[in-house]
């Protein structure tokens, strides 16, 4: 394979790897140089010698990695030389500080999307489509049945559910991923109410980081009280990992809701033990994926993570050069 056509990103046992830059993107094991798309636990792992990430994500990364980690925070769009490549990070719209990785080498441009969405989100910079030769995209929700409703409609629905429970003097416990989803919901709620929302400590720690980054959210209170009466009619935001644990006992009778893109399907809603499922996702839905591919102008699409088979088949039928990344070049150890 000539250097002109050699891939700029390959799948490896440690995650996505850029051979000419000799760096990994969101490595799953410790490496020398890690470029990080965002700070969710399955993308940012400790132990690497050096981290490069977008500046708005620095506060979260410091929380996760500690003060001693070697972290370089770069502004969105600012070029950085890594090995033989020029790398820049660009908003992905997934969570605060999330980034696409643009890699330029030998006159070619590859973009690795990381996790991304196209819906407006008051807690982070919006996804920026980047022109490129090859676009490496996530495909978490790559089935046409995944079409997200307008966020405002879902938040209105959450508020209606909360008010219904309030009339019954029952707490409403809304389960959201502690990083990103919880803050997005708290920020969206600010358009409907200025009432304080009780939050789990894990959520509150990240809320503080978001507030320091200038994100406006409803007032929050740490849900430390163990008196059930303190939560009668209140809204509580907690991570899904607390569901069914002793921590929940403080709420007495409560109604539960879960915010996730997976709640789009009735089967998923019925399999979970929540009273309500609210369709809010920080990933691109099917239609946003297709729109994004068009906007990048990429001549080749590589997919990873999710329903890659379905999307690959459809794009090929439409004449698009597409592959699953894991199979496109073989996986390195």
């Amino acid at each position: 394979m000539s250097s002109d056509s050699a891939p700029l990103v390959v799948a490896s046992g440690r995650g996505l790897y850029c051979p000419p830059g000799d760096f990994y993107i969101d490595p799953q094991r410790p490496v020398q140089t890690a470029v990080i798309t965002h700070a969710h636990g399955d993308h940012l792992r400790d132990g690497s010698a050096r981290y490069i990430l977008a500046r708005p994500g620095l506060g979260i990364a410091r929380m996760r990695l500690g003060r001693r980690a070697d972290v370089t925070a770069v502004e969105y769009g600012a070029p950085v030389r890594i090995g033989e490549t020029t790398v820049s990070l660009h908003p992905a719209g997934h969570i605060l500080g999330s980034a696409q990785v643009r890699i330029e080498h030998g006159g070619r441009v590859w973009v690795v999307s990381g996790d991304y969405k196209r819906q407006p989100d008051p807690t982070c910079a919006p996804f920026t489509p980047l022109e490129c030769d090859v676009f490496v995209s996530e495909a978490t929700f790559a089935l046409p049945v995944y079409r997200w409703p307008e966020t405002a409609e879902v938040i209105e629905d959450i508020v209606r559910w909360w008010r219904f429970n309030r009339e019954r003097r029952v707490a409403s416990v809304l389960f959201c991923y502690a990083l990103g989803k919880a803050q997005r919901v708290l920020a969206e709620l600010a358009s409907f109410t200025s009432e304080p929302v009780h939050v789990h400590d894990t959520v509150e720690a990240l809320v503080q980081v978001y507030r320091e980054a200038g994100v406006t959210m409803v007032p929050t209170l740490r849900a430390q009280s163990t008196r059930t009466a303190d939560y009668a009619g209140a809204l509580v935001v907690a991570p899904p990992s607390t569901a069914g644990t002793r921590w929940m006992q403080r709420f007495g009778r409560y109604s539960s809701g879960f915010c996730s893109g997976w709640m789009r399907l009735r089967g998923s809603r019925r399999r979970q033990s929540f009273d309500r499922g609210f369709v809010i996702s920080d990933h691109a839905d099917w239609h946003a994926l297709l729109r994004t591919f068009r906007e990048t102008g990429a001549r080749r699409i590589l997919l990873h993570h999710g329903h890659t088979d379905t999307l690959t088949r459809l794009l090929r039928e439409r004449g698009v050069d597409v592959d699953a990344l894991e199979t496109a070049h073989g996986a390195l150890p």
Partner: protein, 200 residues
């Protein structure tokens, strides 16, 4: 239909009986008589007559959406239900707020039931118009009513308790009256609410 849709959201998840009971009681306590009667009819698992076969709806979906058959099949396999698959796949148009606000009884009696004797062309025009003018939840419900596949069966004890709470009638009395062969109507509901005997 919107109010019934909100109730449906509260019942169609794997959550607690306490929440479902509260939602049912709130609905039955405030819904118009004809709507309450129809809601009770479908939620108690009584069969609706099929107006259009699910396979016919899928044919219309394929022609309207332009999606390849394999992608519809794959979506259906993931979702597991024709009515929901269509509600998820159809490209939504401008929401018809007036249609959305029509009552459950009006939808069933004046829109869906009359289609049974209509020509397929007329059926298709109406159904596709509804698909494009209703949001996901109400589109799903209309499809379920059209195909007679409304199988969100609420446990009898929950319905009885909710009715007892909403109507302030002893649950033993409610259970006894529901055991008869009743048809959904305003008269039925008024009798259930008032405890009268006429019409039973």
């Amino acid at each position: 239909m919107r109010r019934f849709g909100e109730l449906y959201d509260s019942l169609d998840a794997g959550g607690s009986d306490d929440f479902k009971l509260a939602a049912l009681a709130a609905y039955f306590g405030t819904a118009a008589a004809a709507d309450a009667a129809w809601a009770l009819y479908v939620l108690s698992g009584r069969r609706m007559r099929r107006i259009v076969a699910p396979a016919v709806l899928l044919d219309w979906l394929r022609e309207e959406s332009g999606l390849p058959q394999w992608l519809i099949d794959e979506s259906r396999s993931t979702v597991g239900d024709v009515a929901e698959t269509i509600a998820l796949l159809i490209e939504p148009g401008a929401i018809d707020g007036a249609a959305l606000d029509l009552s459950l009884a009006t939808w069933i009696e004046e829109r869906i039931a009359p289609l049974r004797n209509a020509e397929e062309k007329e059926q298709r025009e109406s159904v596709v118009r509804w698909w494009r003018s209703l949001p996901y939840r109400e589109c799903l419900l209309v499809n379920k009513l059209l195909t007679g596949t409304f199988r969100l069966e609420v446990p009898g004890f929950l319905l009885t308790r909710a009715l007892a709470r909403a109507l302030d009638v002893p649950s033993t009395e409610i259970a006894c009256r529901l055991a008869t062969d009743w048809q959904p109507s305003e008269t039925f509901w008024e009798n259930l609410r008032g405890g009268g005997r006429s019409g039973w």
